[in-house]
Amino acid sequence: MPQAIAAVNDFVVKFANVNGSGSASANELFARSILRMGVPVSPRNIFPSNIQGLPTWYEVRVTEKGHLGRRGGVDMMVAMNPQTWAEDVKEIEPGGYLFYDSTKPMASSMFREDINVIGVPLTAITNATYSDARQRQLFKNIIYVGALSVLLGIDETEIQRLFGEQFKGKEKLIDSNVKAMNLGRDWVKQHVDAGAVKLKVRRADNVGDRIFVEGNNAAALGAVYGGATVCAWYPITPSSSLAEAFQAHCKKLRHDKESGKAKYAIVQAEDELASIGIVIGAGWNGSRAFTSTSGPGISLMTEFIGLASFAEVPAVIVNVQRGGPSTGMPTRTQQSDLLSSAYASNGDTKHVLLFPEDPKECFDFTADALDLADRLQTPVFVMSDLDIGMNHRLCQPFHWDEQRVIDRGKVMTAADLDAGKTFGRYLDVDGDGIPFRTYPSTHPTKGAYFTRGTTKDEYARYSEEGAVYVRNMERLQKKFVTAAKIAPQPIRYSSPKPTRYGVIYFGSTNPSMVESLEQLEAGGNHVNALRVRAFPFAQSVEEFIHEHDRVFVVEQNRDAQLRTMLMSEFVLDGRKLMPVLHYDGTPITARFITADIEKKLGQLKVVPFEKAAS
């Protein structure tokens, strides 16, 4: 008998399925039922760039402690895809469990001796009950959820309740799903030893009022609350569901009650160039506008981003990052567009980036980005990624301050102009680098100006004079300094004991980093941490670096892009910033971060700091 991993509310189940087989909703049902038992889960879709027929996986981390990062390793594999059988079986931890469809006998060489095998004849059960091909396919998924619920101790009433919510008013559908679930449950009860699986879900109270939502959905809702009226987009994984969610939210929240007419406009453009062009046109004309895209889209938009920056037109771009470069890994996650977004376009250009950690911050930052873009009159990027954007994540509920008003920034009105206020479109009247603007059609005789990507003076007059150009560029730099002050500030996590070591990280790395900090602390390694939430960097980021002898910079790209930006923006000695880099397309894990930092700390302890630095 192989050993058997025993764990309560702390294990990983991975489903190996075939794309397009209807498994996604069954797997989500599995994850939600555990959540309803008060036990946090963190599911992740792992899928290829394909519509039907290729392998797809769904990994559920059950974590009573609420560690929502990817753990790595698999305690139970639900192997439903013959194509990937060999690699799926290989991935199981020693002492782990293999759940499979045992309808057809399989050679013993197909299994491993150090794992526990649970065979359920899913196809046989399904075919004995259903004759329709589509029904067979769909209910097979529900049958395995039923079987797993017995094996893992998931409360069936929670699953039934979820059916009730999902198929509200369609009693037939509820009944047929409950029936399928019970087919799986009954078979396991009759044929499998009750102690066969030592992974158990036990009711807890660790979910609280948190919500379970995808980052793209949350960002779309943030755009609604932030007052976006124009959305222009072009389909690209992993951002497409964001614009679609915006449409869905607007259908419910943004139609005039009497006329039924829309208080928004969504255009699926011909490409990313047109998407950002539409956003810029709307922003120029006083509407809040945004686009959602991913890395290749940013590449295409680059020229327009330069125009918006130099002509000072608000625009919001949600970049749901994926693996690059080029077409790269469309369905895998990375944080590898920092440089291409921060410095997009020719000439000396810099842009504001916000780094959400989870769907809650996707909501907050997308709404904030719309304010910031109007306030700063410049493009603002929300740097999400596939890991946050396309996975359900447990996070704090959305909140909206009822006192909050839309900040449209410095807009000169007809009344201002009539009152004799001086209007220079690029005139820095307040010393913060931000000029006033007028919307088109503000006044019959005053306030009109020509917007252009060429150089101009304070009154928007074309000029190639060196001094005028330099003055403008310095004002834009000053505006960038203002941006660092008003963008979301970093969040610090201090070690209980004083330490010379710090870590800087951002975005979707957060849950794994928080878990890693616990692991490091448990291993006696004290580290302070700073989660950067925006570029340009706040002054406190530089202070944090100076406070420590060594700072690990954790990111999900090869070239240490955040570290590069820190070094160039603050003029730092690069030896002080030690990169911790994970970029294989899977979400970074606490295991990886802890191992890498411990290794580096070990090396540092062998070589005194002064020597290592010399």
Binding site: V230, I280, H443, F450, T451, R452, G453
Partner: protein
């Protein structure tokens, strides 16, 4: 450009239009284009048309791309907001601007390089979306600012100033616009303001995607023998199908015409387009016939001009999107932000 200031003093005897503005109120800065450039004549026609239409100057938004033609908006409608965007991509910016405020008059000015080469994709898509606008291409078949390269509208076989024959097929923007769903399509010649001004007026009044291809000879690089976009060539080969009189729906109709010589098209807002026939029978409401006539002209080396196609009841992008009647950029916080109770309901649905 703006370093030559125009005197702001207006002669007191200048006639004001119904909006209370003189023709000079629709002017812009002094042109820096070459003397004799067709584009300046088109600018003058835009000024005249805007003045005659009694449009408030600040209710017009003028947008352009990059090139000689795209510089032109500096030289007309100085009281209007203008946006000189990036090369070939004015259509998307104009689409966004239009979405933000449906109440302004949108004037897109582009050239053959801007619209037929780098911008061909955006040109096609703005037509098929039906953005309510007037899109004018100042078409000279040549790149002026970069000194004389052929553009994509140069006819096959036409000779450059350096004596090279163009071997590429030309792109006919008129055919393309009709094909892509523009609801008002005309062609004219910068040297024929009697045809051009009413066409621009009618286009500006049209509540859908209006496109005007205006042949506009480049005196510096494309006005020589062998060019098919020179003043001489266009004058010789201009096959005008009609001349229109644009009659504002508010005006009393006083002019009388011989029956049989005029076709009247009534647009949705009540305005009338009176088409004076110049010879052959031509029905501009027949899309297929329009395509056929334009193609025949091309085959015969004619420059077919006039109002070539019009849909009198166009539907624009805002209609397709069912947007509210007021401009989106005027919606208040209360219109836009659903508030905390709605958010709490959403939170509840996500547990």
């Amino acid at each position: 450009m703006t370093y030559i200031a125009k005197p702001r003093l207006h002669h007191p005897s200048l006639v004001k239009n119904k909006a209370g503005y003189t023709r000079r109120d629709y002017e812009g800065a002094v042109s820096t284009l070459c003397a004799g450039c067709g584009h300046d004549s088109i600018s003058a026609a835009i000024i005249q048309a805007s003045y005659e239409l009694d449009v408030l100057p600040h209710q017009i938004a003028k947008l352009s791309g990059i090139g000689c033609s795209s510089k032109a908006p500096t030289y007309f409608l100085g009281a209007s907001h203008g946006f000189n965007t990036v090369h070939g991509r004015m259509p998307s910016v104009m689409t966004g601007a239009n979405l933000a405020n449906k109440n302004l008059v949108y004037m897109g000015v582009s050239g053959d390089g801007d619209s037929a080469s780098i911008g061909l994709g955006q040109f096609a898509h703005i037509m098929r979306r039906g953005v309510n606008m007037t899109y004018i291409v100042m078409n000279n078949g040549v790149y002026g600012l970069t000194k004389g390269q052929f553009s994509a509208t140069a006819d096959k076989g036409s000779i450059s100033k350096k004596g090279v024959a163009n071997s590429d097929e030309s792109i006919d923007l008129v055919s393309l616009a009709i094909l892509m769903g523009a609801t008002f399509v005309g062609r004219s010649f910068s040297g024929d303001k009697h045809q051009l001004v009413p066409l621009i007026k009618a286009a500006m009044d049209h509540k859908g995607a209006a496109f005007l291809d205006v042949i506009s000879p480049c005196v510096a690089f494309n006005n020589h023998p062998g060019s098919t976009k020179s003043y001489d060539y266009v004058r010789e080969h201009n096959e005008a199908l009609n001349r229109i009189d644009f009659i504002d729906g508010r005006d009393e109709i006083t002019t009388s015409y011989d029956p049989g010589s005029v076709t009247t098209v009534q647009q949705h807002d009540g305005s009338l387009l009176r088409l004076r026939k110049l010879g052959e029978e031509y029905d501009p409401s027949d899309k297929v016939a329009a395509m056929k006539r334009v193609q025949e002209g091309m085959q015969d080396g004619e420059v077919v001009t006039g109002l070539l196609y019009v849909d009198a009841t166009p539907k624009d992008l805002h209609h397709h999107l069912n947007t509210v009647d007021v401009p989106l950029n005027t919606l208040s916080d209360a219109d836009l932000c659903p508030g905390l109770p709605a958010l709490d309901r959403i939170n509840a649905s996500l547990r």
